[in-house]
Each structure stands twice: as structure tokens, then as C-alpha cells.
Amino acid sequence: MATTESRMAGGSDHHPEIDWQAAERSPEFRELIKRKRAFVVPATIFFLAWYFGFIILAGYAPDFMGREFITDGMTVGYALALTQFLMVWGLGWWYLRKADRVFDPLAERAAEVALAAGTPGRARDDRFKRGAAEAPATTDEEAPR
């Protein structure tokens, strides 16, 4: 274990003083992951499907993509390409809004809980003492910037 620790010196430092396993299992962190997944997984599937749908049409249905509609010169392919741009801006903006309003406050809560929970393996009441002494201060400092 000691050798492992010294080998890790050059990257981001590890923080064994935090009980990461408890933090990962905390209801606050689970809630963050649940809410984030509920957005990111469907959004990723949607944009990949929309994009590869477009690419597959471009590859396998050139005549359909070359069909003109609305007006002379405007092809289905170019219109679908424009929807890709709109999708990127729209989904990106939506994610930003979600992250600011939902994910960030949840992440902050999860981080506070992790800090307050303290060191792994310490006696339970010791942990409560630590939490009582440090939690208020950390809460203030955890304010988003």
C-alpha cells in the first residue's frame, strides 16, 4: 500500500482522509447520479441516433437526401444538416440550464456530506464530533462560485 501511495504522487493527490466509499453510497450522491443519468443517457442516445440517422441516410439514400422541397435548391439533406446544428445548440443549452439549476446544487450537497462524514474507520461518535466542528464552516465555503 505504501508503495502504491508514493507512485501516485505526480498526478492529482489522493485524499485518504475522506471516506469515499461512504460518499459514493450517500443518498445525496445517489440522487445526483440518478438525476444526471436521467438527462445525459437519453440525451446522448438521442443525439447519436439523430446524427447517425443523418449519416446513414447520406451514405445509403443519396437520392432521398438530394430531393428538393419547399423551394428549388433546398435539399432534404441540407435541411437535415441544419437540424443537426439546431440540435447541438438546443441540447447544449438545455444541459447547461439543467446543470446550473439541478446538478450543481446536488453536487454541492453530495460534496458537503462527503466532507462532513470524515475519515473512514474512525469511531462513530468521533465522526459526529468532527462533523459538528467542521460542517458549518465547510457549508459556507461550499457556496458555488
Partner: protein, 552 residues
């Protein structure tokens, strides 16, 4: 290619000189402020979301985007625009899957994130290999492209053009580190966007302010007729088109010089907003490639096909010359000179970003962590980084000069994206999301992804023309883009390497990486560095306090 090489274009040289003078003064400013490793590789983590958004745009949009896509659309119509779409959509992968997590859990290089919960030396070596492969292929392609373009646009010789480009790139990085590189990229993004907007307006004016007329007039000027507005002229094989799409959309999320940019902002929120700024800029730019490409066809017509060169790279400069008033007029010369200078700035910003990411792999990953076991001083690390940047720059100049104009670089950018998508992206994503993933999986995945990409490109028709020449050995394989094969193989490599070995430490430390990546707890803090000086201590201290774990 030698269209403008008859004599040196003094006007273009003059505008070059202005651009270079601005970037060099920024570098001079930066050089007096950059001291720590965090300053050198991460610009002190002091950039705002907007600044980093511009810098990402400047880092990402290469001359291949600006001149190459315009040229492809000019020559092949709709297929060229497929690149524009892919290059942009890729940023959703970055935004959703990697950007913020990189910022929260990394320090200077992607290896920091990959190796966080793994055996340091093998994991770092694998990440460094991937980084150097991507940066190396991309860099050589850019350097050769730079020589050819500057030669064509300004009339100075190929070798001299390569050496000048390389020399400025080295100066920016060795003196000003990431701070200077970031500002060169920001300046380039502003120049590129402004020039493209002006050019787009002139082109629209030329076709009567109706964007639809771009298509009808371009079609009228193309011997291909209706086919010009359809897919299939350039990307004839459907499966190859899909394969290209995979490499573009996943490869961007594995480009080390783009991912490295997320270490330059103070927190995940700034990382996220920088992606959105980049997406706004890059999206607007790629929409305007419609006007550059189809516009070049509509305005210049079929007669320019020879003048734009083999890859069509001179379509945009010729278009600028034409809408400025035509060859020989002052307006035409001025527009051409401006586009030439913008192309030069574009190349400089991209190569600088590539070299600084490669210097991180050599100095931070290989030297500090693998050779010196993380026990060297920060001063030594920065010194080695500067030496590495100088050496990498010199090697790139050497290869470009020796290879010469004839060096086939057409496959190299594609190869860089393929390695990024097949080696770096799977390993990073799994390191951040899959508990069971371990050192053996990361190393296997990166090796399989890198070498299958390279091998498949070597046997592809781009490099090995005529598979029949090899006795039909490769007749079953004719993809120019390896993504559809190499990306799944990269993931399979990651999975296979993982399940064969049980690594308790990697699984145990997953909790720490996971919580930190998602919440920003314990994220690396900045040094308060800005271009105009260091921020006052209170603000830095407050920022640090919000994310730092107090040491016991």
C-alpha cells in the same frame, strides 16, 4: 499549387507581421508571469468560460476546417458539408461525457485522469502513447499543410514556411506556456470568425442576399448538376461515410489538446460554459462554410477547378480575392492577404495547442511520473516541459522539411481522429464510469485502439493504392476511415484486458475518482494567473476553499 508563388505577396506579409507582432507581445507578457507547472500547462486555471470557449474554438478549427472544408464543398458539394456537421456534433460528446469530469479529476494531462486509480507507470505510459500518436500525426499534417498553404498564398518557399511556422510555435510555448497558447488561440478565433463573417456577407451580396441561391447558382456552375447537391461525390462508399462519422463524433472527445483545455478554467461550471461558447462559435463557423464552399462554386465557377489545387484548399482565398474586387485590384489583393494571414494564424494556434499537449505527455507523464516516480521538483518538470516542447517542435519541422510538399498527409488528420476515438476516448470514458475497469484494461484498450487504427490506415486505399498489388490479400478491406472497426475493437480491448485481471486497488479507488469527477470535490486549484498579473490572494483563496479538501 504554385498559383500565387510567382512572387512574394508583400501585402500578405505585412498583415502576417501584424498578427505575429500581436501574438509575440502576448507571449512576452505571458513569459513574465508563467512560473509554476500549473501556469505552464493550465494557464494557472485562471481562464474564464468565455475565454476558454474562444480558445477551444481556436484550438479546434484547423486550416483543414477553414480552407479544407471550403475546398471539399467547392469540389464535391454536399459531401464536404458532412464534415462540418460531424465536427460540430462531436462537441455534445465532449459536453455530456468528458468536459466537466476532466476538469474535476485531472491536473495537466489526460493521463492524470486515466491513471488516477490505476498502476501509475503502465497507465501513464499508455495515455502518453495515445497522446503522442494523436498529436504527432495531427502536427505533421498541419506542418506540411502550413508549408504548402503559405507557399501558395504568400509566395515564400515551402521549407522556409515550415520553419517559420515551427519557430513561432516553439516561441509561444517555451516562453509563454499555456497562457500564451490560449491567447494566441483566442486571437485566432476572433480573426477567423471575423474574416468568415465578412466573407459570408460579401458572398451573400454576390448571390443577391438569398441563401437558397447559393445552392441553385452553385449547381448551375457544376458539371455534376443535381448530383452536386447530393451526397456521394466525395464519399462514394456508404459504410465509409458512417465510419468517418464515428471517428469524428467520438474522436473529438479523445483529442488530447482539446481535453487539456479543460484544465485551464477554475471549475466544472466554467468548463461547461466554455464548451457552450465553443459550440456557439464553432457551429456558427461551420454554418458559414456553406457560404464559403457553395459560394466559391457559385462565384468562381467551374473554371477555377484547376486553380484551387488538388484538395481545393485555395477555394476560400480565391473566393476572397474575387469578392474583394478580383485579381489585380487593391480590394482583391487586400482580401486575399487577409485570408492568407488568417490561415496562418489558424495554423499557428492549432500547432501550438498540439505541441503543448505533447509536451505534457513527455514531461509530466513520462519524465516526472514514469522516470522520476513523481519525486522531481516542479521547477524541473517545467524545464523538461520546455525542452520537450522545443524538441517536439524541432522534430516536427524536420519531418515536414525532409518529407517535403509531396508527403502524403491526407490520411494523417483522419488517423489522428481514429486513434483519439479508438484508443483515448474508450479508456477515458471507462476509467470515469466503470468500476471494474483497471490498468490491464486501459493498457490493452489503448494499445489495441492505437495499433488497429494505424494498421487499418496503412492497408487502406488512401495509403496502399490498389489492394490488388498485394495479391488480393486486402481485397476484403477497402475502408478509408477505420473508425467503424477500430472503435469497437478499442472498447473490446478495454473490456478484455479488464476481465482477465482482477485489480482490487483500481476498484477500491473508483469511489474516490467517481465522487470527485461528479462533484468537483478535491479538484485541482488555480494559481490566480491572468494575462495582466496575478489575481489577489483573497479571491484565489476563496475559490480554492470551495473545492479543496482540508488536509488532516
Amino acid at each position: 499549387m504554385t498559383y500565387f508563388a510567382a512572387d512574394v505577396n508583400e501585402l500578405a506579409l505585412g498583415i502576417f507581421a501584424i498578427v505575429v507582432a500581436i501574438t509575440l507581445s502576448v507571449t512576452y507578457w505571458a513569459s513574465k508571469r508563467v512560473s509554476t507547472a500549473t501556469d505552464f500547462w493550465a494557464a494557472g486555471r485562471g481562464l474564464t468560460g468565455v475565454q476558454n470557449g474562444f480558445a477551444i474554438a481556436g484550438d479546434y478549427m484547423s486550416a483543414a476546417s477553414f480552407l479544407g472544408i471550403a475546398g471539399l464543398i467547392f469540389l464535391f458539394g454536399f459531401d464536404g458539408f458532412l464534415y462540418s456537421v460531424g465536427f460540430l456534433v462531436a462537441f455534445l460528446t465532449v459536453l455530456f461525457l468528458l468536459g466537466e469530469r476532466m476538469r474535476n479529476s485531472g491536473k495537466y494531462t489526460i493521463a492524470d485522469v486515466l491513471s488516477f486509480r490505476m498502476k501509475q507507470r503502465p497507465a501513464r505510459a499508455a495515455a502518453a502513447l495515445g497522446t503522442l500518436a494523436v498529436a504527432g500525426f495531427y502536427l505533421i499534417a498541419q506542418m506540411v499543410g502550413a508549408g504548402v498553404l503559405i507557399n501558395a498564398l504568400v509566395g515564400i518557399g515551402f521549407e522556409l514556411a515550415v520553419i517559420i511556422t515551427g519557430a513561432f510555435m516553439i516561441i509561444y510555448i517555451v516562453l509563454g506556456g499555456m497562457l500564451a497558447t490560449s491567447w494566441v488561440q483566442i486571437i485566432k478565433a476572433i480573426l477567423l470568425m471575423s474574416a468568415t463573417i465578412v466573407l459570408t456577407l460579401f458572398v451573400l451580396g454576390e448571390v443577391g442576399w438569398n441563401p437558397i441561391d447559393l445552392f441553385t447558382q452553385a449547381r448551375a456552375e457544376s458539371p455534376e448538376g443535381d448530383a452536386y447537391l447530393k451526397p456521394g461525390l466525395f464519399l462514394a462508399s456508404p459504410i465509409d461515410t458512417v465510419s468517418l462519422g464515428i471517428a469524428l463524433v467520438l474522436g473529438t472527445a479523445g483529442l488530447p489538446h482539446i481535453l487539456m483545455r479543460f484544465f485551464t478554467v477554475p471549475d466544472a461550471k466554467a468548463a461547461r460554459s466554455s464548451v457552450m461558447w465553443a459550440v456557439a462559435l464553432i457551429g456558427a463557423f461551420y454554418v458559414m462554410t456553406t457560404a464559403l464552399g457553395f459560394g466559391a462554386r457559385a462565384v468562381l465557377g467551374e473554371s477555377a477547378t484547376e486553380a484551387v489545387g488538388t484538395g481545393g484548399n485555395l477555394a476560400a482565398p480565391l473566393l476572397a480575392e474575387e469578392v474583394g474586387g478580383g485579381a489585380g485590384t487593391f480590394g482583391g489583393d487586400l482580401f486575399l492577404a487577409i485570408i492568407a494571414a488568417v490561415a496562418f494564424a489558424t495554423i499557428l494556434a492549432v500547432v501550438a495547442g498540439l505541441v503543448i499537449s505533447a509536451s505534457g505527455a513527455v514531461a509530466h507523464d513520462v519524465w516526472s511520473n514514469i522516470v522520476r516516480h513523481g519525486r522531481d521538483s516542479e521547477k524541473e518538470e517545467v524545464w523538461v516541459a520546455k525542452i520537450a516542447a522545443f524538441a517536439i517542435g524541432a522534430i516536427a519541422i524536420g519531418i515536414a522539411v525532409i518529407g517535403g510538399e509531396g508527403l502524403n498527409v491526407s490520411f494523417m488528420v483522419g488517423l489522428a481522429f481514429a486513434v483519439a476515438a479508438s484508443a483515448i476516448f474508450p479508456a477515458l470514458l471507462l476509467a470515469l464510469t466503470w468500476r471494474r475497469f483497471n490498468t490491464s484494461g486501459a493498457v490493452t484498450g489503448v494499445l489495441v485502439g492505437t495499433f488497429t487504427s494505424i494498421a487499418l490506415v496503412i492497408i487502406s486505399p488512401t495509403v496502399w493504392p490498389g489492394p490488388d498489388a498485394e495479391g488480393g490479400l486486402f481485397s476484403w478491406y477497402d475502408l478509408a476511415n477505420p473508425g467503424i472497426v477500430s472503435v469497437p475493437l478499442g472498447f473490446i480491448g478495454c473490456w478484455l484486458g479488464t476481465v482477465l485481471v482482477r485489480e482490487e486497488l483500481a476498484e477500491r479507488n473508483f469511489d474516490e475518482l467517481y465522487v470527485r469527477a461528479e462533484t468537483g470535490l478535491g479538484a485541482e486549484t488555480g494559481t490566480g494567473l491572468t494575462l495582466t498579473g496575478r489575481r489577489d490572494a483573497p479571491r484565489t483563496a476563496a475559490t480554492a476553499a470551495s473545492t479543496t479538501i482540508p488536509h488532516p
